[in-house]
């Protein structure tokens, strides 16, 4: 009889502990990605969380003008270069994490193979910033144009220099 009591006791207490652990693990929102203080050139950031459905993102740690984003488990969010703070909204708020999207100026030239003009190029903005591109012909400035990220333009010249607007 004493053994039966002991078994019932053990079963009850074990079940209680397991369920309590499950419960507390389930209510605590958990930030998985991106890591705190992460720096990246990639403007598409994968946010991954557990036990919550919303995150708050802002460019200031006081979250005075936050953007509330609904995500179930994970979502890729496009962010402009800059520093952002984010936290999870759940039964209780998570820690505040910081992510920095580094600005990247990147310019690609592709020679127009089918063009009869020898100085005709496809100019592509391969970075993540809006660019101002100055075009020179034999060191003589000829024109300037703007290119948004992934934007491309056909231009003639012998020197193409791109910088952030």
């Amino acid at each position: 009889m004493a053994k039966l009591k002991y078994i019932i006791d053990v079963v009850l207490i074990s079940c209680s502990v397991i369920v309590a652990l499950l419960f507390f693990n389930n209510i605590n929102p958990m930030a998985i990605a991106p890591l705190n203080n992460q720096e990246t050139n990639n403007t598409n950031v994968l946010f991954e969380i557990r036990n919550a459905d919303y995150i708050l993102i802002d460019d200031n740690i006081e979250f005075s003008s936050p953007e509330k984003v609904f995500l179930e488990d994970s979502l890729e969010i496009k962010l402009s270069p800059g520093t952002y703070y984010w936290k999870i909204l759940g039964e209780k708020d998570s820690e505040v994490r910081k992510i920095t999207i580094l600005s990247r100026v990147d310019l690609t030239l592709r020679k127009q193979v089918n063009s009869s003009d020898d100085s005709s190029y496809e100019v592509v903005n391969s970075g993540n910033e809006n660019l101002n591109v100055d075009v020179y012909d034999q060191e003589l400035f000829t024109q300037s144009f703007t290119l948004s990220p992934s934007g491309e333009v056909i231009a003639n010249g012998t020197k193409f220099v791109g910088g952030k607007i």
Binding site: F23, N51, D53, S64, S65, T108, E129
Partner: protein
């Protein structure tokens, strides 16, 4: 057999030549960060660095130069360098800032440019990228700059206003606040709101925030803000919109209908937007029982004045159509946007009636985690009760 070998060799040669031409015809160069900001406080030496990225399949020989009023103060670690294919390289620099810099932002540009000895194959142009260095020198006394950001909202929802205040002066700012006046498209003031008050330390940037419930008609609005710090004020202005450009289909009437004839549809459309909407037309798709499209008819385009109704007319030749109930979708198209309503057409010998099914509303998924929480809470309560019960029984038996 020898012919096959020859063909293979020619094929391989063509592939190699194509790859060579493609490589030779591309030139690419990158730098990060695109801009660095240095806050000036006194005559001092500042250090910085940038990373050059060669994403091409060939070595790049590069030349680095500086342009700007502080160009002579820059000392670049390497002014001439080579980067192997697909590699990155960090380059550091120092700036000896003079003590007598004028207030404001001094823009310097570090240009990284391919050298002439790179040129090979058929590419004959140089590619260059610029990383900027902004040296910000504080203004004497109190000086601030501000930027107004507005998050547009739906009708009857909260519009968020955020004003980023940068203290570019030498003194800390206290009691910085703003008053925002909101005007409709007729220039009438519809609301005045105030933000919180904050302090901004010299060289720092902070935000003023406020919100306003948009209990107004949909349309374009403008916000005029005045940010005050001490005796100074910064005027700001920005336009924003309330609500989507919404068109509502109030009714669909078909008069004098005869099955097999041409049905004239009169669709009463309401413009809920506070501005005129140009070139609005209806497009109706009717489906049979197998969900196969049997007809697609449109109305002529019309302009609908702000907050008013207009009837759009369209026609359907019902020759060969049988009596019955047909599923249909009516689109109200304007620009690249549209409103959509699902309806049913009940077709009889002498009548055609539209039965509204309402707008399709995309539902959000159920919150599975809160369901699980509720389940776990119930289990915990049950287990606690079982524990209590068990110990009460145990104690009673122990007493006996």
């Amino acid at each position: 057999m020898s012919n096959i070998k020859l063909t293979s060799k020619i094929f391989l040669a063509c592939v190699a030549l194509t790859i060579f031409i493609l490589i030779a015809n591309v030139s690419a160069l990158g730098v990060t960060p695109g801009r660095k900001i240095i806050d000036f406080s006194s005559a001092q030496e500042k250090e910085g660095s940038f990373k050059i990225i060669n994403s091409e399949n060939r070595q790049l020989n590069l030349q680095i130069s500086v342009k700007g009023d502080l160009a002579s103060s820059f000392v670049i670690a390497e002014q001439s360098l080579s980067i192997e294919a697909g590699q990155e390289k960090d380059v550091s620099y120092k700036i000896n800032l003079p003590a007598d810099l004028s207030p404001g932002t001094h823009v310097q540009e570090i240009t990284i440019l391919e050298r002439a000895d790179n040129q090979e194959g058929s590419i004959s142009a140089f590619v260059g990228v610029v990383t900027q260095v902004y040296v910000k020198v504080p203004y004497p006394g109190k000086y601030a700059e501000a930027e107004l950001n507005i998050e547009s909202a739906e009708l009857a929802q909260e519009v968020s206003f955020a004003i980023a205040v940068s203290n570019l002066g030498q003194e800390d700012l206290k009691d910085v606040g703003a008053q925002i006046e909101i005007y409709n498209s007729n220039g009438e003031k519809v609301a005045v709101i105030s933000t919180n008050k904050i302090s901004v330390v010299a060289g720092e940037k902070k935000e003023l925030a406020s919100s306003w419930k948009a209990d107004v008609t949909a349309g374009l609005y403008s916000a005029k803000a005045s940010v005050s710090y001490g005796a100074n004020a910064i005027p700001l202005e920005k336009a924003f919109s309330i609500g989507e450009q919404v068109l509502d289909l109030n009714s669909v009437i078909v008069k004098d209908f005869s099955l097999g004839g041409i049905a004239k549809f009169e669709m009463d459309v309401q413009n809920k937007w506070g501005e005129d909407i140009k070139t609005v037309y209806s497009q109706t798709n009717v489906f049979d029982k197998n969900n196969k499209l049997i007809v697609d008819f449109k109305s002529p385009a019309e302009d609908i004045a702000a907050l008013s109704n207009r009837t759009l007319f369209s026609y359907w030749d019902t020759e060969g159509l049988s009596k019955g109930v047909y599923d249909a979708v009516i689109y109200l198209r304007y620009g690249e946007k549209f409103s959509k309503k699902s309806v049913q057409f009940e077709v009889d010998s002498n009548s055609l009636r539209a039965i509204g099914l309402g707008y399709v509303i995309s539902g959000s998924g159920k919150n599975s985690s809160s369901n699980l929480n509720s389940f776990l809470i119930i289990i915990i309560i049950v287990l606690v009760l079982l524990n209590l019960l068990w110990f009460i029984i145990f104690r009673k038996r122990a007493k006996k």
